[in-house]
Symmetry: C2
């Protein structure tokens, strides 16, 4: 039987979700079924949640887990009446933080939207636009503005990685596909010399590449295992010869790939 888990928040719910996922990964003998309840910001909504949780507890004859990032004391008081195992994020952290900071928390829902936030936000949107403009080898003339230029064979994960770097960290990430022509001569494209210090290579296992390309164009020469093996062998040699830093994307999430790239290049996250 699966154990029910609720992620509850008066805001987006992303913090409760990510924290819960991280913690529950430590219990891999147990199957969890999760539900996120965002924007629970009124008495009525909290009461409805308590009812939902209590029904769940009764039906499964076991207390569900409840990760909560509710801030307001009066709403939390209602929530604490539920039958769940309460994991109250603010309760656990706010007291030690108040002591360390010698300040009271403001108990205000949500982040303030300062002009600094707005700037950071605009920066991220600009970076997303940059990633789109420079996707897949487009707009090489804008590489001077790049924080990083991702290289890789077709379907090695360049585009999602560039978009994640932009969306999450506001980094201007261009990406450029290394084609058969480049590979046959074991040479980087001519623009690359000027931007050598910005290059970063994505590696991938040929078998995995074959699977991904097969989903896109089954039974094509492009997707064949031989072609994938050839391209991977050639590009890895090229990375080595040109001393380009690399990461293997094969069994990593976009988050891991992006944060490892930042760690390796000392870009600012």
């Amino acid at each position: 039987m699966k154990r029910s888990v609720f992620y509850l928040s008066d805001q987006t719910g992303l913090t409760a979700e990510l924290l819960g996922q991280t913690l529950l990964a430590q219990f891999d003998s147990i199957d969890f079924i999760t539900q996120t309840l965002p924007y629970i910001d009124s008495e009525d909504k909290v009461l409805a949640v308590v009812e939902l949780i209590n029904r769940n507890a009764q039906e499964n004859a076991i207390k569900p887990l409840l990760f909560s990032t509710l801030v307001q004391p009066e709403l939390k008081a209602i929530l604490h009446r539920s039958e769940a195992v309460m994991l109250d994020v603010f309760e656990l952290f706010i007291a030690p933080l108040e002591q360390a900071l010698q300040a009271h928390s403001n108990h205000r829902v949500g982040k303030k939207h300062s002009s600094e936030d707005k700037q950071a936000y605009d920066h991220r949107i600009q970076a997303v636009n940059y990633a789109l403009k420079t996707d897949d080898g487009l707009s090489i003339k804008q590489y001077a503005q790049a924080d990083i230029i991702l290289l890789g064979v077709s379907r090695s994960g360049k585009t999602p990685t560039a978009l994640y770097l932009a969306m999450q960290f506001g980094l201007q990430a261009a990406n450029y596909p290394i084609t058969e022509d480049d590979l046959q001569n074991y040479e980087l494209p001519t623009w690359a010399e000027q931007f050598q210090h910005k290059l970063f290579g994505l590696k991938i296992d040929p078998q995995r590449l074959h699977e991904i390309r097969t989903e896109r164009r089954a039974n094509s020469p492009y997707a064949s295992i031989e072609q994938c093996q050839l391209e991977v062998r050639q590009i890895n040699k090229l990375y080595q010869r040109e001393a380009i830093p690399t990461i293997d994307t094969t069994s990593r999430s976009i988050e891991e790939i992006a944060t490892k790239i930042i760690a390796k290049t000392h870009l600012k996250r």
Copy 2:
């Protein structure tokens, strides 16, 4: 003076970062300067971090805050020797979780990469590809596969929202720009009738739209405040007439916009 904050992890650091940001938003009278230290997964690296933290504590004559999601007890033991105010995420949560779940945590670094994870991962990548293929009114013939179709005037935030819905939640989000031609007749494009239940409208304040468009094309008729006011007035009327659900993007982050859309449409996150 700014208070130093370190986010430390043996993995990406994203959980410590997001949790810390959420908690510190409760102390808006204090300025923080933050640094993320990911992939701290060996004794040597932890020792180097302890040194970094102790130097910081000495220089600033105050203990920095340290949010840690380290898992391994032997590494944590070293870390606890530092001069920081320790906010040990696993320590605070694992004990109550072990009790509630009647199970021991596995103290293993990182998430396991199960076939379920791989499926979820492939799903997200597919969704990103879908968002790109259907960006800005492209590939209307693929709307049958859409989970949602975002509408809005040019620069109202459609593309980043669609990409975030894809990247974070694996949702297939298309987006379509409502142009002057559509607006002048107060009519939806002809394809829309068939997909009425998937439509979602982005609203934006005309002044903000004017600012965003000005950055793109300063002093153009396209960016003029009059044009922005006109388009916004017309599209809002169109949303209302066609009973299309909407969200105002003006002072919201991508995360807020995306999670609010999911909450309103009852899509699965």
